[in-house]
Symmetry: C2
Subunit: 402 residues, 2 copies
């Protein structure tokens, strides 16, 4: 029943890891970077396979233009980092425990000292050193520690360098996302089944979370970068509310946004459940969003621009007299809390990125109106000639009139 | 069965919110701060009640020495922030969607512009403006945006100012943590029940997560700041591993660390389950940790220093020929991903903080040995004369020989 060995088609091989690093170094060369410091947990996972809930204390991967990668983490985490990371143990270094959560020192003071002791400062002093200036889990204090301790280095923003390498998925990654899609289907079915009048919101969240983590008999689930969100009733006009312990009432609409996750690869999905007869207003919005999503899906193919998807959406919505100020989606793949987006391509009218095969997106038709809301989303892959949807739910409002 | 209205003893009243702000301003005055910019989601929740999974895009609370607080968030989140926050709607401002995830601008460029337009720069230009320099979700890019856009302000690190105000809990907060303790008991009982030979790790994680989120019939659960961690077998020598989809095997030890959460208040708890007969080595470590934890619990009372707890632990461990380089605990309360610690008091030999009534801690007896590990932890309150434990599990290794 359980899968005890990795499914070969999904295996990220040594060759694929090497190709990822090559792609990163190619971009580094184009951006004139002599070294790169990686702090985003998703980027760390992508380049090394390292996977643990250790990102609440500082950690950083040193990527020189040439030579060995070195991963720095808190000592207790570094000791076992080889268990999930592909890096050899001598490329994993722990900083002392006494640097954790202290006002007058920072772990990166020690990291800088260690880089100097290892003779790794000089090689990068002739060029620029890239930082992930807007990465989660990289604080101004961490930045200042590096800046003060390594005056030889010219720090520049790398502008999501690794994130951009991640944008086009390999065949193995697509298989991982298809597995995530199966977990997602199970979780959404659970959600639709459990959202009912009288059920406490927290109990439905519990059922969804269990479905996400258990996954299927073939593909055991992983934790999502974002917990189930389910803005309900009048609060459904606000996208990122989680839940409380009150029961659902008849006449409420419930927006459910969740993701299926398999080995950190995410396929998010949103649907809206109406507990009772929907208002004409809500029906109208649901129709508009369904039609808008159809128009977007019909537009997806290699060669079109990200903004073309936004335009297809806007034109359809305009026919219904509606508009949506926020982007209608973003690139997805590996995710860690607090976000499953890749922070690269945004589907909006300003984004001119040309779509290519094996890009993957979360398309979001979310309408946050006054005192109600409707959301319907899809996770998709750009195929050679069109689109693949990772799940197969109808593009409709779900009405439960029991 | 369900509690539809807040339990009065747990209600954070308007008066309590006002007292929190007074305490923050008192500290601001001592630190010569004319204003403070709050980015830590736990601190935002503490001061305003704002609670949503919106922290993956920048948000900040402006706290001037005098006058209205102003909360800035992404437009789609700001629109509904009044639903959980106590701030009046005119003190909640949304930044435009076009500032989200773009390489050449940052939302705090716009926040700075808006502060200027509102005439709020000048009042703080005569003093220092505190930043949470090591807060999660405050990036170097965000820092640089503020620094460049408001040259009049002298930015300084506030050194976890609000976190330090949070250290001593009010009676209402203690009630919230007792409720979290009940959720925690339910979750740990679920974990102990489900960890068995042949069960997939992911299915046990699913059961634990469901128990955390469902909570009890009286206290509906909330999401934990950290997902269930369960390093298993030889991997139990590493603290922050989550899970995979392989089954538990006979002879494995499983370290379970989880938290009960109620309205964002956390009580973490760790126990170790042995599937089969424990080795002499493991039994010895378990005995040492049990005795060490007892010694720490007996030391807790107002007036002792944080380091006295670490010393009580170290002396006991030394009798068993063991030592633990990491801190044995930290202050707890409100938590958001990725961490349920308050990042203030650490229980280690360097920390001279004097314990006071209604401080709350997570005491951690974690021993990460070579190829195995043992963890046992307790969440506690400092009482007028000693200690209150939020849960009641024996301080022992749990052996399942079925």
């Amino acid at each position: 029943m359980t899968v005890d060995v990795p499914v070969p088609a999904m295996e990220i091989t040594a060759g694929e890891y090497a190709a990822r690093l090559d792609a990163v170094r190619h971009k580094m060369e184009k951006q004139a970077l002599a070294a790169l410091l990686i702090t985003d947990p998703a980027n760390l996972y992508y380049l090394t396979g390292y996977n643990a809930w250790s990102f609440y204390t500082p950690q950083v991967l040193f990527v020189p233009a040439e030579g060995d990668l070195i991963f720095f983490a808190r000592e207790m985490d570094a000791n076992g980092a080889f268990r999930t990371s592909r890096l050899p143990v001598d490329q994993i270094i722990g900083y002392p425990e006494t640097y954790v959560h202290r006002p007058h020192v920072h772990p990166f003071d020690w990291v800088a000292y260690k880089l100097r002791k290892l003779g790794l400062i000089a090689a990068a002093a002739s060029g620029y050193v890239g930082l992930e200036m807007d990465s989660q889990f990289f604080s101004p204090k961490a930045y200042r520690a590096l800046f003060n301790a390594i005056p030889e280095w010219n720090f520049v923003d790398c502008f999501e360098l690794v994130n951009w390498v991640r944008v086009i998925k390999s065949p193995a990654e697509i298989e991982l996302m298809r597995a995530a899609g199966k977990v997602c289907t199970a979780a959404m079915n659970t959600a639709i089944e459990h959202v009912r009048v009288g059920a406490r919101q927290c109990d439905v969240a519990a059922a969804i979370s269990a479905a996400q983590m258990a996954g299927t008999s073939e593909f055991g689930g992983d934790y999502p970068a974002i917990v189930p969100m389910m803005p309900t009733g009048v609060e459904a006009d606000t996208p990122h509310l989680t839940w409380n312990d009150r029961p659902f009432n008849a006449g409420q609409g419930v927006v459910i946004e969740l993701a299926g996750v398999y080995r950190r690869y995410h396929t998010p999905l949103a649907r809206t459940v109406m507990l009772g007869k929907p208002s004409e207003q809500l029906t109208n919005v649901a129709d508009a969003v369904g039609e808008g999503m159809t128009a977007v899906l019909e537009t997806v193919r290699p060669g079109v621009e990200a903004r073309d998807l936004a335009k297809a959406w806007n034109w359809t919505l305009a026919k219904f007299g509606l508009e949506k100020p926020s982007r209608i989606g973003y690139s997805i793949g590996v995710g860690y809390p607090p976000d499953w987006g890749e922070r690269t391509i945004s589907l909006r009218t300003e984004d001119e990125t040309v779509l290519a095969e094996n890009m993957t997106f979360h398309l979001i038709g979310g309408m946050w109106m006054d005192n109600y809301g409707f959301e319907l989303s899809e996770s998709i892959r750009v195929t050679a000639s069109g689109v693949e949807q990772f799940t197969g739910f109808p593009l409709e409002l779900i009405i439960k009139e029991d």
